[in-house]
């Protein structure tokens, strides 16, 4: 691998042992993927900062980096954590020790990482420019960065994003290379699409069938930014997808020809309404009847999505005994408080949380076993991590279910 003078000095240990180790790891990753050289990154987003994923040794390691005054060289934000830093007691986590989470937060922040604690950090100051090289982890973010913004990231792991942040470099491979960003599979959507839950279902179905190839969507009419975020999150839930094109919508594909470049589609996936509903056979396995827990905002809701929730809840009350959490980031919650959006949600009996990822929180302490949500990603991981049964429906229906307190069964 070709390294410039500064990178050689990092590898030689001129910037300390941590930078040396980080560069060793990046060189190794580069060699594994036949990267010819490193590129400078303009930003990083680090996940894997949740206490549950760590152990005493790895937390001590992160703390040592902070103690050695290691600083990130790129603008770096932090992903969600396992609780709401401000309101975790109000959420019911009264018997949980979050000492390790606070230790991790403190250490990462001491290295210069910005604690936005969100899986949608682009709503909170980390917004790459078209063509920027960045190193972003949290699987829902690469499809947004690559497809929607036209910036360039590989599917980073939390630890590799940390190494990239420390050195300000990432190997030139994966989606940093224009050739790898071209479309490979044509996806023909043959049914009308509306709302983030439909786009989630589409991503879930296509992610399962497209492998690691870049899908190109035909038949989608002007999806909103929120819908594209939920499409990408679902694509990256069932498949290792980090890039897609919607000709005429996403910035690197003005039309079909640009999306595929010199290639012909290797496969065509036709998607009918029936195909879209397939994942619900698995995800809508909650017993019908009274519900206990409703969670929205996976990925973290935007201010406009919070506005939709408030509109649906205006003047209404969620059913007694039902817990409703709406997840977003601290900066967006702050704005929602200013706008009165938060108040409407709280008046209706809901909670507006910041920082947290529900499924990575100690939900078992609250005794929940089921979850109603508008996100297929949320439902998928609630099965995997929390052993929950779930129901997925449109936002409108989820709110109605929260108000009636009853789920009537499969969609």
């Amino acid at each position: 691998m070709r390294l410039n003078e500064e990178e050689k000095r990092m590898l030689a240990g001129d910037f300390g042992s941590t930078v040396k180790k980080a560069m060793e790891i990046l060189v190794k990753l580069g060699q594994i993927h036949n990267a010819p050289y490193m590129v400078e990154i303009t930003s990083a987003h680090i996940d894997g900062n949740i206490d549950k994923e760590h152990n005493e040794d790895s937390i001590t390691f992160i703390e040592q980096l902070a103690a050695e005054k290691v600083k990130v060289r790129a603008f770096t934000t932090l992903n969600t954590v396992g609780m709401d830093r401000e309101k975790y007691l109000q959420l019911g986590f009264t018997s949980v020790q979050f000492d390790n989470q606070f230790r991790l937060n403190k250490a990462y922040e001491a290295m210069g990482c910005l604690g936005v604690y969100s899986c949608t950090p682009y709503y909170a100051s980390n917004l790459p420019r078209f063509g920027d090289h960045v190193a972003w982890s949290e699987s829902s973010t690469p499809p947004f960065v690559n497809a929607v913004l036209g910036a360039r990231t590989s599917r980073e792991a939390g630890a590799s994003a940390l190494m990239a942040a420390i050195t300000g470099r990432t190997p030139y491979y994966s989606y940093h290379v224009p050739e790898n960003r071209l479309g490979r599979v044509l996806v023909k959507v043959e049914c009308p699409m509306k709302g983030i839950s439909d786009y989630g279902l589409l991503g879930y179905y296509v992610g399962k069938h497209v492998g690691s190839l870049v899908p190109v969507f035909d038949g989608l009419r002007e999806p909103t930014r929120d819908e594209m975020i939920y499409l990408g999150a679902a694509l990256a839930t069932t498949g290792p997808v980090a890039m897609y094109h919607i000709p005429g919508v996403t910035p690197e594909a003005g039309n079909m020809e640009e999306a595929f470049g010199p290639h012909q589609p290797e496969a065509v996936i036709n998607v009918s309404r029936g195909n879209l509903m397939e994942p619900l056979e698995y995800l809508n396995d909650m017993p019908r009847g009274p519900i206990e827990f409703v969670a929205l905002g996976c990925p973290h809701y935007s201010l406009s999505q919070l506005g939709q929730v408030a509109e649906l809840l205006e003047g209404r009350k969620i059913h007694k005994g039902v817990t409703l959490w709406v997840h977003t980031s601290e900066p967006i919650r702050h704005m929602a408080q200013k706008l009165g959006t938060a108040e409407t949600i709280i008046k209706a009996g809901g909670m507006l949380t910041a920082d947290m990822c529900t499924i990575c929180s100690p939900l078992e302490k609250l005794g929940f076993r089921t979850m109603v949500t508008d996100s297929v990603k949320h439902a998928f991981y609630a099965h995997l991590f929390n052993k929950f049964t779930t129901a997925v429906d449109t936002l409108e229906n989820v709110i109605n279910i929260a108000i009636s307190g009853v789920w009537e069964g499969k969609r």
């Binding site: 060699q31 594994i32 549950k52 152990n55 982890s137 980073e156 792991a157 939390g158 630890a159």
Partner: protein, 136 residues
């Protein structure tokens, strides 16, 4: 048995010698292995209930949550895991965990090459050179 040298690719430097334990299944390092004892705890795994501690772990590749890098790191630090690892392709979590945890790793071997290695055989791994030696 005769001595045999296989050349792969260097992932994490260091030299280790010990007895092989061969996993046919990929390994979920995050929650699939107990970092204290080195015992594989993933249900249905072909090594379920067996410890990889103090052995040379041969496996196809790591899978699942990238938090697994921190499990490998912990095993390396505490010397509670394998002495070295050999795999088909080291993905991100195996690469980072082993370099940070100072566990020698070589990869780049075909499934056929790895299938010929039986649990219990003596192996020497040179992580920097990317080679493994059978019956050294």
């Amino acid at each position: 048995m005769s001595n045999k040298v296989l050349t792969g690719r260097s992932i994490s430097p260091g030299i280790a010698e010990g007895v092989a334990i061969v996993s046919r299944d990929p390994i979920v390092f995050n929650l699939g292995i107990d970092a204290e004892s080195g015992v594989i705890v993933e249900k249905g795994h072909d090594l379920e209930g067996q410890s990889v501690q103090g052995k040379i772990l041969i496996f196809p590749y790591g899978k699942g949550s990238t938090g697994g890098a921190w499990t490998i790191f912990r095993m390396g630090l505490r010397k509670s895991g394998p002495l070295a690892m050999v795999c088909q392709n080291a993905e991100v979590l195996t690469t980072i965990g082993s370099i940070l945890g100072n566990i020698p790793v070589v990869d780049g071997f075909s499934p056929e090459q790895l299938q010929k290695i039986k649990s219990g055989v003596r192996i020497r791994v040179d992580g920097a050179k990317g080679i493994l030696e059978l019956n050294p």
